[in-house]
């Protein structure tokens, strides 16, 4: 049953692309898609590539700059994708190729952005949500480290200043005690 649904989805995907994208643009885009460079790439999935056994082999990502980048998947490609009901699926392609295709198709249909980590043209990780908004998350990360360091430095500074004040006060008091003892004849 699942295979039938997957096949239907793939067929629908294949037919919906020409409907969703103007013919000349589509022809131009697919023709001008390039292999993704190493590193992280953000965008939405526009084309899903399958083999004759309806097994996912790769996909094309449309970046925010409008560039189309192509990448393939292999057994060790990791997925961390969430569907509309909030169910997050984390697995590797080799563990469940059919589910991988379903999830990728779902992402494509919802135009949900994904972040793909690419190495040598192969997607090593495909994730959505938090990584899709790297800048916002980096802001939070920066805040966490800033708050921690500011907290430590402020406390150490306060303690250090108090230590210095007390050291001075102790020396003064010791001088007074010693002077008083001299005066009362307790110390020669």
């Amino acid at each position: 049953m699942r295979e039938i649904i997957v096949s239907l989805l793939v067929v629908l995907t294949a037919f919906s692309i020409p409907l969703a994208i103007p013919g000349e643009v589509k022809a131009q885009s697919v023709a001008s898609s390039s292999t993704a460079a190493d590193g992280n790439t953000n965008g939405v999935i526009t084309v899903i590539q399958v083999d004759q056994d309806t097994k996912l082999v790769g996909f094309v990502l449309s970046t925010k700059d409008g560039e189309l980048v192509e990448m393939s998947v292999n057994d060790s490609t990791s997925f961390g994708l969430e569907n509309t009901s909030g169910d997050r699926w984390v697995s590797e392609f080799g563990a469940d190729p059919a589910e991988s295709l379903l999830r990728i198709t779902d992402q494509r249909e919802r135009f949900a952005p994904v972040t793909v980590t690419v190495k040598d043209g192969i997607a090593t990780a495909v994730v959505d949500r938090e990584q899709g908004d790297l800048e916002r998350n980096l802001g939070f990360l920066f805040a966490i480290y800033l708050v921690t360091w500011a907290g430590f430095f402020a406390y150490i500074f306060i303690v250090s200043r108090k230590q210095n004040d007390l050291s001075r006060e102790i020396n003064t008091l010791k001088g007074q005690v010693l002077g008083s003892e001299h005066e009362s004849g307790l110390v020669d």
């Binding site: 406390y155 006060e169 007074q176």
Partner: protein, 254 residues
């Protein structure tokens, strides 16, 4: 600025070296986690800080028990140092936790058990310090503070087991007797977390020892002022008249 004794200087150097190593591992060595992305790097600060906050309350409990048994003031000083350092770490644990929760859970705070019991831990620290600040100085204060310190430590196992006992957003324990064997915290992520935890533990020892030293100085000032007040009255021509004035007699520190 007083010269740092050699051992404190060495300890500070070790702390700085370990912190440099930890930061290098966090930002340059450990790979980005697949589900949360870069924000997951908060783990390497949030978890060690939380660990130290719990170690601090255990330290207070141990020092308090030792004080109740021996009545030696050094244990009371140690408990105070642990409490004041612990409240800093507990506050940072809550703040870093909220800053991590917002992008991952979508909220700053939830009412789940682990968060609530952690907030209670923070309030225990605050209550302990407030008690010491407002209760009249003396043996009774030290004794009652020690009892509060021992009772406060009961919260620690509840926090640890909190994620297992009730429904939660926090993940299950990954370290200790309740850790799951298929935990994802292995490899570089696990190693980085261990190094970060060691680093923050070393930092805690440094800060707590500085606070202990400060507390010792406060006690010394108190005893010196007591000694001066017990001395016989001086003649007007006394050399004491030329001595530097003393600001005030401090109450026994918080």
């Amino acid at each position: 600025m007083t010269a740092l004794p050699k051992i404190r200087l060495i300890w500070l150097g070790v702390t700085a070296a370990l912190m440099t190593l930890t930061l290098w591992m966090i930002f340059l060595w450990v790979p980005t986690e697949i589900n949360q992305g870069n924000i997951q790097r908060s783990l390497y600060f949030h978890v060690p800080v939380a660990w130290v906050a719990m170690v601090a309350i255990v330290l207070i409990a141990v020092a308090s028990v030792a004080y109740l048994k021996t009545r030696d003031e050094k244990w009371d000083r140690l408990a105070v140092a642990g409490a004041e350092t612990g409240v800093i770490f507990a506050a940072l644990m809550l703040i870093t936790g909220m800053l991590w929760a917002k992008p991952v859970w979508g909220v700053w705070w939830t009412g789940e058990a682990k968060l609530t019991t952690t907030l209670i831990l923070f309030f225990i620290y605050v209550a302990y310090l407030m008690f010491r600040a407002y209760f009249p100085p003396g043996e009774q204060r030290r004794r009652l503070a020690a009892i509060i310190g021992v009772i406060g430590a009961i919260d620690t196992p509840i926090i640890y087991y909190g994620a297992q006992l009730w429904e939660r957003a926090h993940p299950s324990a990954v370290v200790g007797p309740l850790s799951e064997s298929d935990s994802s915290l292995d490899g570089p992520i696990g190693l980085t977390l261990m190094v970060a935890t060691l680093t923050f533990s070393v930092l805690f020892v440094y800060i707590a020892s500085e606070r202990y030293r400060l507390r010792k100085q406060e006690d010394e000032v108190t005893s010196l002022l007591r000694a001066i007040s017990l001395q016989p009255p001086r003649t007007p021509s006394s050399s004491m008249d030329n001595a530097e004035p003393i600001s005030s007699v401090p109450a026994e520190g918080a």
